[in-house]
């Protein structure tokens, strides 16, 4: 297995779908953080075959778990303190996501109103369906996994 002991304080995102790590890197705005980030692609996994892993050395509060839960709530978040895993956070689908995805409905008011936040609300937790707060256009996460891990 991969060694995570190199991190003193930070987090390890495990069980990322293979190929998704760079998108998550950008969505979590890790490029804006002044800290070390390691992206491991196509690591071997007994559960998934292949997986990606992201290791970040930074205070845990710097991570937006809501966005991560929205992207893929099956990702395992290991919190590291003093070189050890002190917590495994369980991600939940956030009740709402703000300015992460844009409404694609051309008839939606978000297409014309200046500086209006793009807000999507969770309307069906089981099917992981979000709808635009304004026009109720459906958004289904394309990264949704059928099998849940961990």
């Amino acid at each position: 297995m991969l060694n995570i002991s190199g991190i003193h304080e930070g987090f390890v995102l495990d069980h990322i779908q293979a190929g998704m790590s760079l998108q998550i890197y950008h969505d979590l705005k890790l490029d804006k953080l002044d800290c070390s980030v390691a992206i491991i692609k196509n690591a071997k996994s007994s559960k998934m075959g292949k997986k990606d892993i992201i290791k970040v050395e930074c205070p845990i509060e710097a991570l937006d778990l809501d966005i991560l839960g929205f992207i893929d709530h099956n990702i395992t978040v290991n919190v590291i303190k003093g070189d050890k895993i002190v917590e495994k956070k369980i991600l939940k689908l956030p009740k709402q996501v703000k300015n992460v995805i844009k409404c694609k409905n051309p008839r939606c008011v978000t297409s014309i109103e200046q500086e209006l936040d793009q807000i999507f609300l969770l309307t069906d937790e089981e099917k992981e369906v979000y709808r635009c707060k304004y026009c109720e256009e459906k958004y289904t996460n394309p990264n949704r996994r059928k099998i849940k891990f961990g």
């Binding site: 109103e113 304004y134 026009c135």
Partner: protein
């Protein structure tokens, strides 16, 4: 402060209260003639609408209030590029309540978030038109005496017709309501209504293509217009626009106490010869629309008339 964005904003109990008030207004209009003295309704219509705007204005005038507003985006500051949020902030300084129609879906919700006065969604594109649903419910309740234990036939454009979708959503909250969905294959009810609303709530329904097959089962027949603006292809529109025409002959198949409703405007889906049939209540429906809007204005302004 309360707004109205969707017909489901009101609980069944609140809806009953609103419809009771509307019925009392119908019976005792004089009692309410000065209920809104000194109050102003702003009708902010970013797209043309004759019926809805005039119905709102008639409602406020009947209550003794005044009206101001605009009837198209060209004659508003939207033409200069003003946002909905800014417009409603300004209008909040001029009026006590606002009815807004806008071609963009969710526009009234944006307005309500920044408004200092109650906002009524008077239609936001193909999304919601709650006062039409309230009108439909009042018509059925007033003339049938109930909103439960009914078989409702919905006929015509069930795919794009927002009034049909809203009415289904509102009626499933009552006991023992059955739907017969009458439409050509191309204009059938969307799956999110069939699966997520009807099937998910175990509501009895059937889908048929011929109006004649359903007529004798119905307590209410809700006719809709096939709207030209919903079609990309003129040929499809021409083929489907005359698919259903309610005639005197078809009315003979219906029960004696069946009601025919239509949100109007009608084009030719109901033959003019049906207008004189006492079961044709679509013009009465327009009158109920005024009463229910009066009740809504009083409710949102929190005005009680003793």
């Amino acid at each position: 402060m309360r707004h109205l964005m969707s017909p489901l904003d009101f609980s069944v109990e609140e809806l009953d209260q609103l419809l009771d008030l509307a019925s009392d207004i119908e019976k005792n209009p004089g009692k309410y003639a000065h209920a809104c003295d000194g109050k102003k309704l702003a009708t902010c219509f970013y797209e043309p609408s004759t019926r809805t705007r005039l119905s709102f204005e008639a409602a406020m005038l009947n209550l003794g209030g005044s009206v101001l507003g605009f009837a198209s985006a060209d004659s508003s500051s939207a033409a200069k590029g003003e946002s909905i949020s800014d417009t409603i902030r300004v209008i909040s300084c001029y009026a006590d309540i606002c009815a807004m129609r806008h071609p963009k879906e969710g526009a009234a919700l944006v307005a309500s978030q920044k408004s200092g006065i109650p906002v009524i969604n008077a239609g936001d594109g193909g999304h919601q038109h709650p006062t039409q649903t309230l009108t439909d419910l009042m018509t059925i309740r007033s003339l049938k005496g109930r909103l439960g234990n009914l078989t409702i036939g919905l006929c015509g454009d069930l795919k794009f017709g927002r009034t049909v979708h809203s009415l289904i959503n509102a009626l499933i909250r009552y006991e023992n309501v059955k739907f017969i969905l009458i439409s050509p294959e191309e204009l059938r009810i969307p799956s999110y209504i069939r699966d997520d609303v009807l099937r998910a709530n175990h509501i009895e329904f059937e889908e048929v293509e011929r109006l004649e097959d359903a007529m004798n089962q119905l307590d209410v027949l809700y006719m809709t217009r096939v709207q030209r603006e919903r079609f990309f292809n003129e040929e499809d529109y021409i083929r489907l626009k005359d698919y259903y025409i309610l005639t005197k002959e078809k009315m003979e198949l219906a029960r004696e106490d069946m009601l025919v409703l239509h949100p109007l405007p009608r084009v030719n889906e109901i033959s003019v010869e049906v207008d004189d049939d006492p079961r044709a209540v679509y013009f009465q429906q327009a009158q109920y629309g005024v009463y229910v809007r009066m009740a809504l204005i009083l409710t949102l302004l929190e005005i009680t008339v003793m």
